[in-house]
């Protein structure tokens, strides 16, 4: 067989995707008022300072909790804190 017609088996360079179990999202809130909503801030103070101010002004009946980081890694809620948190807003991711 001429060299240019020879058929080669060529291997994949792609890494192995391990199976990932996928989960449904958590059920959404039935209402905002009266809930404890956590604002997890990671960087972008131009946005997050305005966001925090606006959220507290527009939703005064929410119990807002806040943790701040300037880095992409948010300060996480502890297991205890998660028990009393109804929802989380996290931003700004980059």
């Amino acid at each position: 067989m001429p060299e240019k017609e020879k058929v080669y088996r060529c291997l994949s360079p792609i890494g192995i995707q391990l199976p990932v179990k996928t989960f449904p999202l958590a059920p959404r809130l039935d209402r905002i008022d009266g809930k404890t909503i956590h604002l997890s801030i990671c960087g972008e103070p131009d946005i997050t300072i305005a966001l925090e101010r606006r959220l507290k002004m527009d939703y005064p009946n929410v119990n807002w909790t806040v943790k701040k980081s300037y880095t992409p890694n948010p300060v996480q809620l502890s297991e205890e804190e998660m028990k009393t948190t109804d929802a989380v807003i996290l931003g700004v991711c980059w």
Binding site: E3, K4, E5, K6, V7, Y8, R9, C10, L11, S12, P13, I14, G15, I16, Q17, L18, P19, V20, K21, T22, F23, P24, L25, A26, P27, R28, L29, D30, R31, I32, I37, G43, P45, D46, I47, T48, I49, A50, L51, R54, L55, D58, K68, S69, Y70, T71, N73, P74, Q76, M82, T85, D86, A87, V88, I89, L90, G91, V92, C93, W94
Partner: protein
């Protein structure tokens, strides 16, 4: 994203705010974390904060209350089919196949190669890969795993034997997969232990700004495989430096899934990643008492290692601030601009040429520097009194002190001090308690600096910002090549 996944799995609804051009990255990371349908909102890179918030605050809150769709309520398993053989056909058709591109939308808006770095590759036929695998005693089907315990890396503790999960897609890979990429890069079988050690690093590419990955080889391997450590070693031409550096970038793309504009978001990329960068240390050029990089990282002189460096996050690459002739004039007879700056006019050397660079080099750059210097210049430093590399690192560190007032006028420290909420290292005090005239180091630790002796005979020093200090919580990392032989 693992944190968001943890919250969602615990029954706490979340919504993310990300930057508007990074949606693909969010989707990929969400899938890898098991919550593919995470809700997110786009923030602007350019609009003023209040105006931007005004645009999406209502949809943001709606994302916390709007009932889930059928898709968002689904659970299951993501397990795409993966074939060992990617293509069967003639050599010409194989080359076409491996060179294929696909369009990446904003923020790239261009065709990018699917399996390569854009350059032609050596097609990884079964025969070529089998030949490559002769370079290691490890089995082809062996998962690439850590060869020793590693400290926390990107917040994940790694133990000996743990499979390496390649960033950013957290894929794993076999020894054969690394060999496939090594073939594509143009490596030879004797390079494979180096390529496997490089794979063991996890192939972190970083994402924003200007991260550049540099592999530095130290130990007997340098001469064994014929790395160029002399004239032009950073440039093209070597059949060793080039392909090994390239193997990193191909593995980052293929084993790690790092794709520009999808999860590798550096606005410009780095030209040093174009084809990759592999440097060899010239052990014969080290002055007496100056340790090789392998020894600096706790290995013995006769052990071969690869040191993985991430440079450029706080700057990039600099070099040749002085002319080679000017350097010779300084050292031989104390004449020229360098001598005038150092105040040694008319006095023959050796003189401390570092004084020409430091501390001015810190004017817009902070953090440790990796200095690539030719043997002659290393010898001059030794003759002046730097009896070890550590002496140089300490000297650079001391030169880096400036007032808190000056330090606060830099950009990166807003991030690295966590918004000035942390504690300053030398005093142990909160940043916010320090007076403006308190002196702080711009280099975090003397060992963040690094010296690589290499290069030809024309007097010059290349400075790379950063180095083995890496980025974020990536630890300084030297990986044994010998364990992959």
């Amino acid at each position: 994203m693992p944190y968001i996944a943890k919250l969602e799995k615990a029954g706490i609804p979340t919504v993310l705010i990300d930057l508007e051009d990074q949606h693909n990255m969010v989707r990929e990371e969400a899938l890898a974390s098991g919550v593919p349908k995470v809700r997110f909102m786009p923030a602007s890179r350019t609009l003023a904060g209040p105006e931007d918030v005004d645009k999406w605050i209502q949809p943001l809150m709606d994302a916390l209350t709007r009932p889930l769709t059928d898709e968002e309520e689904e659970s299951g398993q993501f397990s795409p089919s993966q074939n060992r053989v990617l293509f069967e056909g003639t050599s010409e058709k194989a080359q076409e196949f491996y060179q294929q591109t696909r369009f990446i939308p904003r923020p790239v808006n261009a065709e990018l190669a699917v399996y390569t770095d854009g350059f032609p590759i050596v097609v990884p036929t079964e025969e070529r890969v089998a030949e490559m695998l002769k370079g290691t005693s490890h089995r082809p089907d062996e998962l690439i795993a850590y060869q020793e315990d590693r400290p926390v890396r990107l917040r994940v503790e790694s133990c000996k034997g743990d499979p390496v999960r390649f960033q950013p897609r957290l894929f794993t890979a076999t020894v054969e997969k690394a060999a496939v990429n090594a073939v594509m890069a143009g490596c030879k079988p004797e390079h494979l232990p180096v390529v496997l050690a490089i794979a063991e690093t996890g192939l972190t590419t970083g994402t924003t700004n200007f991260p550049t990955q540099v592999l530095v080889l130290s130990g007997p391997i340098v001469k064994e495989i014929g790395l160029n450590t002399g004239c032009g070693h950073l440039g093209p031409g070597s059949r060793v430096n080039g392909p090994i550096g390239r193997a990193f970038q191909l593995m980052a793309l293929n084993l790690g899934g790092a794709i520009p504009g999808v999860n590798r978001m550096s606005a410009h990329g780095s030209p040093m990643n174009n084809g990759g960068m592999c440097i060899g240390e010239n052990v014969d050029g080290l002055p007496p008492g100056w340790k090789g990089l392998n020894e600096e990282h706790g290995f013995r002189k006769e052990e071969s290692v690869v040191v993985f460096m991430t440079i450029g996050n706080h700057g990039g690459i600099l070099g040749h601030e002085f002319s080679p002739g000017g350097y010779r004039a300084l050292q031989k007879s104390g004449h020229g601009g360098m001598a005038r700056r150092l105040g040694v006019k008319g006095t023959p050397g050796p003189h401390n040429w570092l004084e020409y660079l430091f501390p001015r080099i810190f004017s817009v750059l902070e953090g440790g520097f990796t200095l690539i210097m030719i043997p002659e210049m290393a010898r001059h430093l030794y003759e002046i009194g730097f009896k070890s590399k550590q002496d140089v690192y300490d000297w650079i560190y001391k030169k880096s002190f400036e007032t808190v007032g000056e330090y606060r006028s830099r950009s990166w420290p807003d991030l690295t001090t966590n918004g000035w909420m942390g504690r300053e290292k030398t005093s142990g005090k909160p940043w916010k308690e320090l007076s403006d005239d308190y002196m702080v180091p711009v280099v975090n630790d003397p060992f963040d600096n690094c010296i690589i002796v290499a290069g030809g005979e024309e007097e010059g020093c290349i400075q790379l910002t950063g180095g083995r200090a890496g980025f974020g919580d990536l630890p300084s990392a030297a990986y044994s090549i010998d364990k992959w032989r």
